[in-house]
C-alpha cells in the first residue's frame, strides 16, 4: 500500500513540481500543495509507459546536443521556407534509417529530433526497433540523409547512452 505513496521517479517529480511553481504566479501555500500533488500523481499514472532507465546516461552532454538541435531548427527552417515559396516542386522520399541505438528512450529522442529538424519527419519505428521510417521533404539521395542524421544526431546520442 505504501508503494502508492512513493515517488517512483524523483527527477520527474522534481521537474513537475518546479514547472508548476514557475507556471503559477509566485509561491503560495496553494501552489505548493497542488505542485506536490501533481508531482506525486503524474508519475504514478504514467509509470507503466516509461521505458526502463538506461544503465548510464551522460547527462552533461545534453545541453550541447539541445543547442545543436535548436541551431539546426533555425537554419533548416529557412531552407524549408525557401522550398515552400520556390516554384520548383519538392522531391519527397521515404527513407529507411538503420538504427544503431538500442535504448527506447534514446530512439524516441532521436525520432523527435528528426521530426523537429526541418526537412524530415519520422513516421514509424519497425517492431524490432531496428529501422526508422523517415519522410524527407526534399531528398535527392537517401544515403545523404542517413549520413547527415547519423553524424549530427545519432552519434552524440550513442555517446550519451552508452
Amino acid at each position: 500500500m505504501f508503494d502508492r505513496l512513493s515517488f517512483p521517479q524523483p527527477w520527474l517529480s522534481l521537474i513537475l513540481f518546479l514547472t508548476w511553481q514557475i507556471l503559477s504566479d509566485g509561491l503560495s501555500g496553494g501552489s505548493i500543495a497542488l505542485g506536490l500533488f501533481l508531482a506525486w500523481l503524474i508519475p504514478q499514472i504514467t509509470h507503466g509507459f516509461w521505458p526502463e532507465r538506461p544503465a548510464f546516461v551522460k547527462t552533461w552532454r545534453m545541453p550541447a546536443y539541445i543547442l545543436r538541435v535548436l541551431m539546426d531548427i533555425v537554419v533548416a527552417s529557412f531552407s524549408v521556407a525557401w522550398l515552400i515559396l520556390s516554384p520548383r516542386p519538392p522531391r519527397p522520399a521515404f527513407v529507411c534509417y538503420p538504427l544503431k541505438l538500442e535504448h527506447p528512450l534514446a530512439i524516441s529522442i532521436l525520432a523527435s529530433t528528426i521530426s523537429l529538424t526541418p526537412g524530415t519527419v519520422s513516421a514509424d519505428v519497425s517492431d524490432d526497433n531496428k529501422t526508422l521510417l523517415i519522410h524527407a521533404l526534399d531528398a535527392t539521395d537517401d544515403q545523404e540523409v542517413i549520413d547527415a542524421i547519423y553524424n549530427r544526431y545519432e552519434k552524440p546520442l550513442m555517446e550519451m547512452f552508452q
Binding site: 524549408v80 515552400i84 519527397p92 527513407v95 523537429l116 519527419v121
Partner: protein, 110 residues
Amino acid sequence: MSTLAEYAISALLLFGGAFTLIGAIGLARLPDFYTRLHGPTKATTVGVGSIMLSSVIYFSAIGEKIGISEILITVFLLMTAPVSANMLAKAAMHIGVQTTKDTKGKPWEQ
C-alpha cells in the same frame, strides 16, 4: 520601454508572423499529405518561438516579470510537435494515404 527593446520586439513579431504565414502557405501548396506534415511542424516552430521571445522581451522591458512561462510554452511546443507529427504520419500510413507520384520509396506495411 527603451527604443531598442521596441525594435527588437517588432522585428521578432514580424519574423515570427512571416514564418507562420509561410508554414500556412506550405500547407496549401505542397502536393500530398506527407509533405504537408512538414509545414506546420517546422516553419511554425521557428515562428511561434520568435513570437514567444518577443513576448519575453516585452514583459521584461515593462518590468512586470521575467517571462519564464513563455519559455516553458515554447519548450512544451517543441516537445509535443514531433509527437503529433508522428501520430499523423502513422495514421496516414495505416489508412494508406496516397503519395505523390514522384515520391521515392514507399511507406511499409507491418
